[in-house]
């Protein structure tokens, strides 16, 4: 049985904050197929295109028939834990300070035997589910979980090392003026975050939902204007050391393509709020997040980037908006590499039109802000890196994977 976490005590100011260390993160190009699956929370292994053998570890040729056709496919993740061992000492500096560490050999029903990290509630001989997870180095590892959920299983230290669970973490939601920001604050508060700081720009301007937001449990309003470098820096100066998860809810949704817009005023606002806002937040909070990746139960864990799925493919009806979102996606990819030394995940959460005022003329399906809030909590609990929320986002992603040119024409017609 997992010992439930208790709320971490305030930090001893005389203690040095430990430097985040990373487990070994080198993988072959082929093995990055596991990382791609782990990023989205899929369990995929190579399956031989010729003889159907399930292959692990990743290889360039099928060990049974020598075929070079070894695509990664969704595979049944069930198996049995054949043997376990507890490592008590290591020369690896990352694992050395996390000892003891349990690993074991799992025989998958689908065929291969896999050496996996073990959840604390799993014992030798028991049935298990395997999951691919991203470790602190950002690469895929396999963890074996109990066949059925156990009480407090998310609190297991080896599991929590792989996730960004908001429980007992302190969160900053960057923009609480919007329905999305408010839904996010509520979802994270309910998920057990110890504090949810919620940024509000232009406090002199009232906004819908304000009263309710102020009444949410463990929510604290802070002045934060993503378009104002001074405001972002001041907010970070005061609160950055107490932010473990940052959720950038900034949004700026306006219709119009590139030619259809008259002038650049709105485009500049878009860039200020979204792309430059993301940069401001990243520059102000990123260094502290990166330094606090191994700071105990409430270590810095994630930078969540809410981004329109039209970052991946332009929707000309919202063409200038799509371009700005694409810039944010590109920035997030860079940010991901830059925060990795701290073991901090950059989580991109893609979504389509929302059930909000700025998508008023768009027909359903549209995503409720509350659904987006739940999806972000889920992604953090699962330690995911790329998440597609809702029918439209999933559909765009699937069509893009099959034929990008077809999608371009379809979105532009």
């Amino acid at each position: 049985m997992t010992e439930p976490l208790s709320r971490p005590k305030r930090k001893d100011p005389l203690k040095k904050t430990r430097i985040p260390l990373l487990p070994q993160g080198t993988r072959s190009r082929t093995a990055l197929g596991l990382t791609a699956a782990a990023a989205e929370g899929r369990f995929q292994l190579q399956v031989c295109g010729d003889c159907a053998a399930v292959v692990y570890p990743p290889r360039d040729a099928c060990p049974r028939c020598l075929s070079a056709s070894l695509p990664f496919c969704d595979v049944d993740n069930r198996g049995t834990l054949l043997a376990e061992t507890t490592i008590r000492t290591s020369t690896d500096v990352y694992f050395r300070e996390r000892m003891p560490w349990r690993i074991g050999t799992v025989l998958l029903d689908a065929g291969p035997a896999i050496v996996a990290h073990l959840h604390g509630d799993l014992r030798e001989g028991e049935r298990t589910r395997l999951e691919l997870k991203l470790d602190k180095s950002g690469q895929a590892i396999v963890i074996a979980l109990p066949a059925r959920d156990t009480p407090n299983m998310a609190d297991d230290p080896q599991w929590r090392e792989l996730t960004c669970d908001p429980k007992y973490r302190r969160v900053l939601v960057t923009d609480g003026r919007t329905a999305v920001g408010q839904a996010m604050a509520e979802a994270l508060s309910q998920a057990g975050a110890s504090i949810v700081f919620v940024g509000v720009a232009d406090p002199w301007k009232p906004f819908p939902g304000e009263e309710r937001l102020r009444k949410l449990e463990r929510v604290e309003i802070v002045v934060l204007d993503l378009t104002d470098t001074i405001s972002v820096n001041e907010c970070a100066g005061e609160f950055a050391p107490r932010v473990d998860i940052l959720v950038n809810t900034a949004e700026h949704v306006r219709t119009g393509g590139i030619v259809e817009r008259k002038g650049l005023t709105v485009a500049r606002e878009e860039l200020e709020v979204r792309y430059l806002g993301l940069m401001r937040i990243a520059q102000a909070f990123g260094p502290v997040l990166r330094a606090r990746g191994a700071d105990g139960i409430n270590s810095a864990a994630a930078f969540v980037n809410l981004v329109s799925v039209f970052a991946l493919a332009s929707w000309p009806a919202y063409g200038a908006f799509s371009a700005t979102e694409a810039a944010c996606l590109s920035a997030a990819q860079s940010l991901r590499a830059e925060l990795r030394p701290g073991g901090v995940k950059v989580v991109n959460v893609f979504f389509g039109p929302l059930e909000t005022e700025w998508y008023q003329a768009v027909p359903p399906p549209k995503l409720a802000p509350s659904a987006l809030g739940r999806a972000v909590v889920q992604a953090l609990r699962q330690g995911l890196e790329d998440v597609f929320v809702g029918d439209i986002a999933e559909d765009i992603r699937a069509r893009l994977a099959v034929n990008p040119k077809a999608l371009e024409r379809e979105l532009g017609s």
Binding site: D202, K205, V223, D225, I230, R268
Partner: protein, 271 residues
């Protein structure tokens, strides 16, 4: 006064400067500090917006410039304490010398009268200055001289944040002139321009007046100017102050943030 050519040729500017240095003429700053959190006018979100003041550090004695500190700034023409040129409004769009770069520079220095409606405004945020108010003021202080700034003291500049903008579900609630008084001031008193402490020379609810935004409409239609987001009007006498308000020389600019100074003769001279 200017009866002879000699008198025009030799005004004593050095005596004027000496009076400032001696404190006989007080210089009062009527300007709010340009800062990112100072409210700008709020338009419906689907319309174009006035950019707030923003500042990006270029270098601060660091690797970006070792011995110097400087910033790049950005803002709208109507951000912070600012000047409205006639071209700002559709009624003034075809006038000559209607933009900040073409206005005769002598117009940037003019006398001011201060009409105090601070008590009425404290009681009623939507208080409208009326012709009767102006006539009552004139009984006490004399007829408003032609080409004077009329500065509307509401003490609004002492408010901050939400109280300053006073935005409710039906829009902004701040005092300003009624349509008739603007016409009266422009046509009967030949005013130079109107200066207010609020965001805009018009009342917060002036969109619903006829015509909408009468101060903008009538004043700019007659080539007169506006000053808004002024401060320290409570330090000015009802008459006798001179305003120095020179906007930036922006090509075809509709307005500009600026430093507004008032020259005020010391109330009582100490012997």
């Amino acid at each position: 006064m200017t009866t002879t050519a000699n008198a025009i040729a030799s005004p004593d500017l050095l005596a004027f400067a000496g009076a400032i240095a001696a404190g006989e003429i007080e210089v009062v700053d009527l300007t709010h500090t340009l800062s990112p959190d100072f409210p700008t006018i709020v338009m419906p979100p689907e319309l174009g917006q006035c950019a707030p003041f923003r500042m990006e550090e270029v270098s601060r004695y660091d690797e970006r410039g070792s011995a110097w500190y400087w910033n790049n700034i950005s803002m709208g023409e109507h951000t912070g304490t600012h000047f409205d040129a006639p071209v700002h409004w559709i009624s003034g769009k075809d006038l000559p010398e209607n933009s900040v770069d073409t206005i005769p520079v002598a117009n940037f220095i003019a006398p001011a009268v201060v009409i105090d409606i601070s008590q009425q405004s404290a009681a009623n945020a939507d208080y409208e200055l009326t012709v009767a108010d102006v006539e009552a003021w004139e009984i006490l202080h004399g007829r408003i001289p032609p080409r004077s700034w009329v500065l509307l003291r509401t003490d609004w500049s002492k408010r901050s944040g939400r109280d300053y903008v006073n935005m409710r579900e039906d829009g902004q609630h701040t005092p300003g002139p009624c349509p008739e008084v603007v016409r009266f001031l422009v046509e009967q008193r030949d005013l130079h321009g109107l200066g207010t402490e609020t965001i805009g020379t018009d009342a917060g609810q002036a969109f619903h007046f006829n015509p909408p935004y009468p101060a903008h409409f009538y004043m700019h239609g007659k080539g007169r100017y506006g000053l808004q987001c002024l401060a320290n009007l409570d330090r000015l006498p009802p008459t006798g102050a001179v305003i120095l308000a020179a906007p930036l020389k922006i090509r075809r600019g509709s307005g500009s943030p600026l430093r507004v100074l008032a020259l005020v003769p010391r109330a009582e001279k100490r012997a």
